[in-house]
Amino acid sequence: MRIVVAMKQVPDTAEVRIDPERNTLVRDGVPSIMNPFDAYALEEGLRWKDALGGEVIALTMGPPQAEAILREAVSMGADQAVLLSDRAFAGADTWATSHTLAAAVAKLAPVDLVLTGKQAIDGDTAQTGPGMAATLDWPQLTFVGRVLGIEGGRIRVERYVEGGVETLDSSLPAVVTVLKDANTPRMPSLRGKMKARSLQVTVWTAADLGLPQSETGLEGSPTRVVRIATPESRSGGEIHRGSPEELAAILADILLGEGGGE
């Protein structure tokens, strides 16, 4: 099995604040982390490598400092790391991102499986995985809560949808986007950490991928952000204090008055 895990470095959105006067994102001092969902994608890749043999390649597109998450991936057990970095990649939307990542997967051929996180916590789009599948003309399995098995060139998964769980079976190669239900990511090992320290990250540019500027970064992005704003904040409502019985009575007024009563 040759498995590629696509992962993204993101600002820890728990820490992102808006400057209320200028209405801009305050990024100073905001730590960059591995997109939390991608740890589940990586763990899933490592599990199937452990079971079936083969290798796991961690792949990211980003500025040079994004290699930090690739080292983290290697410390957890990834075998190789590829960083797609080029000024031409900057400002990519999900069309250009999935286009660029798909070109890298094609260059890494033969690849049996591409895993991604469910979504990145900065953009929250969940579009990159399906975009890669479309570009590669591979089947896609999204919102996967469990990989049941990989055998004979096929993969079986559970996909969590509104109202239930689908069991799906697909030919490989395929793109699978993973939910956090799938597993519990492992901790970095000591051996992994040492390997990560001495790791040579492979860096590819647009030229290495054979992509024209019109298909990458800002130029290759059909969408454009034209405005950002702070969401309207709700102000706090009425605060009630009192004995449990008094509070329960007010609560019941609100809850049953809201249409819960018969």
Binding site: P36, T142, F143, R234, E258
Partner: protein
């Protein structure tokens, strides 16, 4: 289309107005003149902030060619066993509002194994044209056949705008189709409006975990595609006098091929299945202390006909399974009433529930952040208040 930001160093005075105007922190002063980094999205905020005209965004390319001939709004319908999803009716409501400004027709695309009275329902809720692709092989949703058919019909009918619900189906289908059509897709929009001047759909959505709202446009390619968060847009009341033109199109045999096979579908227990659709959610956090205490919540949820939700802290502690989790890494919910018990209201939780109509918080710490944004706050011990509440509801029901 391509665009680039140009800074005229001969005119720039290094005043720094642009650096504070840039929402993305992409501008800085280097040696007394403005300089732009990779974080730039070409949003244009700096261009209008510069009193000296030192910043120009140059747009070049073939916008008009790529977009001519496209008009109207197409809604991708979702249905289950012949019944149209409510989210689809909401999209039709949004599409009608767009059509007022855009001018083109509203169409609905229904791909299904049983159309039933679906076309009639779509028509009554605002579609001018219903395109029906009905085939026994198109029962349960599978990505590849839907993507192939959707792509072909968009190419043939040329809508300027395509909307789908931001359900697991819409969020699976749309990115595949948008990539194949080489056009833009905006995820999980919570507000849409049409700018007649630019001829563009302004698509607004939360990003960065709900910390910001971003407005996104797709100027140079068509259609402009968006998934729209369920329960945000309003469906119109059905108007039985509306009669849409029905267009029946057969799938081409090659379009029905799928490399993915459905082996089974398991309906999850109600409580799990429908927090995203529940109108009342009783949610618990770390303050619940043990898994057993969640029965307090299910009891009240049961009395109110609601579902049980949870914060990540409760899910991570193993007190309740992940499908119940509300928030950034869980589900986004928008019930009429959200009762948060022993939940502090951290931003990652808040983004998943802040659009609820009424948020009620029970927490013993009056400085908890949730009291800053709830509609009604109750300061006290949930282990005393919730049992008293259950008793009170029973008493009122009994005597009513």
């Amino acid at each position: 289309m391509s665009a680039r930001l140009e800074i005229r160093t001969d005119v720039c005075t290094g005043c720094g107005l642009c650096t504070s105007a840039c929402p993305f922190g992409a501008l800085s002063l280097v040696d007394g003149t403005a300089s732009v980094s990779d974080a730039c999205t070409l949003c244009g905020a700096c261009e209008s902030s510069c009193p000296f005209g030192a910043i120009l965004i140059r747009r070049t390319g073939t916008v008009a060619e790529g977009i001519s001939g496209y008009s109207g709004t197409m809604v991708i319908a979702e249905s289950r066993e012949g019944a149209i999803d409510h989210s689809t009716l909401e999209l039709l409501g949004a599409a009608r509002a767009i059509a007022e400004a855009e001018g083109g027709p509203v169409s609905a695309l229904l791909i299904t194994s049983v159309a039933g009275d679906g076309p009639k329902v779509l028509s009554e809720h605002g579609a001018d044209v219903v395109v029906v692709v009905e085939d026994p092989a198109l029962g349960h949703y599978l990505t590849e056949p839907r993507a192939a058919i959707t792509r072909r019909i968009i190419t043939e009918r040329k809508p300027a705008i395509v909307l789908a619900a931001a359900t697991t189906t819409g969020r699976d289908l749309m990115p595949r189709v948008a990539k194949l059509l080489n056009t833009g897709l905006t995820a999980d929009c919570t507000s849409l409006s049409f700018d007649p001047g630019k001829g563009c759909l302004l698509q607004t959505r939360p990003a960065f975990g709900g910390n910001i709202m971003a407005t996104i446009v797709c100027e140079g390619t068509r259609p402009q595609m968006a998934t729209v968060r369920p329960r945000v847009m309003k469906a119109l009341d059905p108007d039985p006098s509306r009669t849409a033109e029905i267009v029946r199109i057969a799938p081409e045999p090659g379009e029905l091929v799928s490399r993915v096979r459905l082996e089974g579908f398991r309906v999850l227990d109600e409580g799990i299945a429908d927090i995203a659709e529940a109108s009342v959610i009783v949610s618990g956090g770390r303050g619940m202390k043990t898994p057993e205490n969640f029965s307090l919540l299910s009891e009240i949820a049961g009395l109110l006909g609601g579902s049980v939700g949870a914060s990540r802290a409760a899910v991570d502690s193993g007190w309740i399974p992940y499908p119940h989790q509300v928030g950034q890494t869980g589900k986004t919910v928008q019930p009429r009433t959200y009762l948060a018990c022993g939940i502090s209201g951290a931003v990652q939780h808040r983004v998943g529930m802040q659009s609820s109509d009424t948020i009620i918080a029970v927490n013993r710490d009056e400085t908890a952040p949730i009291f800053q944004f709830c509609s009604e706050g109750f300061v006290g011990d949930l282990f005393e208040i919730l049992p008293a509440l259950a008793k009170e509801i029973r008493r009122r029901r009994g005597s009513a």
